[in-house]
Amino acid sequence: MNAFQQEMVELLPRLRRFGRVLTRDRSDADDLVQITVERALMREDQWTPGTRLDSWMFRIMKNAWIDETRARKRRDVVLAPEAAGLGIGDDGAARAERRLEVAEVERELMRLPEDQRLAVALVLVEGLSYREAASVLETPEGTLTSRLVRGRNAILARLGGEGSAA
């Protein structure tokens, strides 16, 4: 394997995570990762070394998912988030409380409409900058920002307590 492929192997866990945000389904997510890897390898010449491989592959993955959903339209039937099988391991009572909170945020994230879900996931979960996230989604930064704000407000409002002030 060359450095490109090695880096890709190291990215697999994060690709799988972003796949779950996109598909909201474990096995669909892994199928999508596989398609993404195959496309990325075919397009190695389109990647500029020195730039972020993660953003580049997230973008390929997002487009692969668009193709996939077009192919099976019925997918728009809303998947109950619980059915997505987001596992919460129970290792240790000490961490239980904290994990519950993470699980709540995860659940609310998965309930967001797709455009907000992807914006929130790229910035808050994947830690991309606004500019990088906008390039993954191929939208202007302003669009990304407003999706991000709406998604965040929705999560906070649903998690109760003091929501958005505005």
């Binding site: 394997m1 060359n2 492929q5 090695q6 890709m8 192997v9 190291e10 697999l12 866990p13 994060r14 799988r16 995570r17 779950r20 945000v21 892994d30 990762v33 596989q34 890897v37 195959e38 390898l41 075919m42 190695e44 987001l86 596992g87 919460i88 391991g89 409380e97 904290r98 909170e101 993470v102 945020v105 995860e106 994230l109 929130v120 996931a121 910035v123 808050l124 979960v125 830690g127 900058s129 606004y130 920002t145 407003s146 991000l148 704000v149 965040r152 407000n153 999560i155 906070l156 307590g161 003091e162 958005s164 002030a165 505005a166």
Partner: protein, 248 residues
């Protein structure tokens, strides 16, 4: 009411706001506790969301996915070989590294800014422990913003006490966030928290009493500074110069 928009709050928490905006938010927070609470909540969300779906990162990657990379790699190499003869040695695919996660997890921890201090903010409302900035950890986005841009004594959620240089000549600053006080020093990659301790009282926040800053610093922090400091604390002009130079 303040004219701080949702977008400004998001950018503030995500470290995407320019210096002018940060100053505006800090000023508004000083006059509007509800806004402060909102920012704490947003920071906490950021910290928690950074751990969302974390299980995926630690579970083994299915073999078929690793094979997808390697298999395509192999056919790609063969095609290359057909076109231009060897560019190196034999092309036997290297065995994949068995370890997958730890290196990644560490990288993620560094990438995900906002975590530690956002947690520190979170502690205002929730559990005290998992939240505070800890010694040896990189500073989060919010702390970084404050350490980079604020002069000592300025109001805001993060309070910077004073600045000094350590034996390596690097800039260090004392800080306090809610009930956690500490010292962070500038390293090549950013600010690193060198020590952190519980602080008995909330930071002086918002009343312009900045000469109080040093005397309000908890004794544990002052002791740490004593060990680290070379020379005197920076005075205001030195601090401004250091800020201009990026604290290098």
């Amino acid at each position: 009411m303040s004219k701080i928009t949702d977008e400004m709050i998001a950018r503030y928490v995500d470290g995407e706001l320019d210096a002018e905006g940060v100053a505006a938010v800090d000023a508004a927070v000083a006059a509007d506790p509800a806004l402060g609470a909102r920012i704490v909540r947003e920071s906490h969300l950021r910290a928690v969301a950074a751990r969302a779906l974390g299980d995926v990162l630690t579970e083994p990657v299915p073999e078929r996915l690793r094979q997808a990379v390697e298999a395509s790699a192999r056919s790609a190499e063969i095609i290359k070989l057909d076109f231009k003869k060897p560019r190196g040695g034999p092309v036997a695919p290297a065995p994949a590294k068995p370890s997958r996660l730890p290196a990644w997890a560490a990288a993620a921890a560094c990438l995900v800014v906002g975590l530690l201090v956002a947690q520190a903010f979170g502690m205002i409302r929730t559990k005290p422990f998992e939240t505070a900035p800890r010694a040896g950890q990189p500073a989060s986005a919010a702390l970084t913003v404050a350490l980079d841009r604020k002069l000592s004594g300025e109001a805001g959620l993060v309070h910077v006490g004073f600045s000094f240089r350590d034996s390596g000549g690097q800039a260090c600053r004392t800080f306090q966030i809610d009930r956690t006080a500490g010292v962070a020093c500038r390293r090549e990659q950013g600010w690193s928290v060198r020590m952190a301790a519980d602080a008995p009282t909330a930071p002086p926040g918002g009343r312009g009493d900045y000469r109080m800053a040093a005397s309000a610093t908890p004794p544990a922090v002052l002791e740490a500074v004593d060990v680290m400091i070379v020379g005197e604390p920076l005075d205001r002009p030195q601090e401004i110069a250091a800020r201009k130079a990026g604290w290098k």
